[in-house]
């Protein structure tokens, strides 16, 4: 399932609700891998007060659907749940959830990483930061995901 939402969401509640509703998972999944992305109050040495997430409707869902299909072809997945926030967000808000269910941990770990990295590089979302000095700036590009690289 793929959800794009302008409302704040609790990723843990979403996971619990989704899992409870998927009767096909019961007794079958041995591994659940989760990635939750959360808004920081800093970026590249600056203090960030809030952020606006823009996206390209329909292309966003199309690209996420393709990424999930690619993951399903490579790994034995039972189910997946992807939620991404749009609109105005504040520090500590959840921005993205990637959850995958599989019978074994290797498939779950690898597929969740693949989906998240593909989302970062291919899905048309953009972030605009509101800084505490009243300046605004677009995030120019995503990093490789490591603090010290």
């Amino acid at each position: 399932m793929i959800k794009i939402t302008a409302n704040a969401f609790n990723p843990y509640t979403e996971i619990q609700q989704h899992q409870a509703q998927q009767s096909g998972l019961q007794g079958k999944f041995g591994a659940t891998s989760l990635f939750i992305g959360t808004m920081r109050d800093f970026n590249e040495g600056q203090t960030v007060q809030s952020m606006t997430l823009e996206h390209y409707p329909k292309m966003t869902e199309n690209q996420l659907g393709k990424i999930v299909s690619e993951a399903q072809q490579q790994w034995a997945l039972l189910d997946s749940l992807i939620i991404h926030r749009i609109g105005e967000v504040s520090p500590d808000d959840s921005l993205v959830l990637v959850a995958v269910w599989s019978s074994h941990r290797g498939d779950a770990f690898d597929a969740s990483r693949f989906i998240m990295e593909a989302l970062k590089s291919r899905v048309p979302f953009w972030k605009k930061e509101q800084l505490t000095n009243n300046q605004q700036q677009w995030v120019a590009k995503n990093t490789d995901g490591y603090q010290n690289s």
């Binding site: 390209y56 292309m59 991404h84 993205v96 998240m116 291919r122 953009w126 605009k128």
Partner: protein, 78 residues
């Protein structure tokens, strides 16, 4: 019949609008031709990505009638 051109994020702000409608070209044109027709005074920024009907394409990709052509900067979701 026309070609819809859409822009997002910093590119939309740079251009001052999010959408342009172009008349259907009378000859074969590519994505970069559409940019030049829509923005004759502005060279396409070097990091611009392009999509046609919501699929990523190269700037040389040929355009058909009723296509939606999108231009946008590198994506920064997640």
């Amino acid at each position: 019949m026309s070609i819809k051109v859409v822009y997002f994020a910093s590119l939309k702000e740079l251009l001052g609008h999010s959408e342009t409608l172009l008349p259907t070209p009378t000859s074969t044109v590519s994505v970069i031709d559409i940019w030049q027709q829509a923005n004759p005074d502005l060279t396409i920024p070097s990091n611009t990505l392009a999509a046609v009907n919501m699929e990523y394409v190269s700037l040389e990709y040929p355009i058909a009638d009723n296509d939606e052509v999108a231009f946008f900067p590198p994506v920064t979701g997640g």
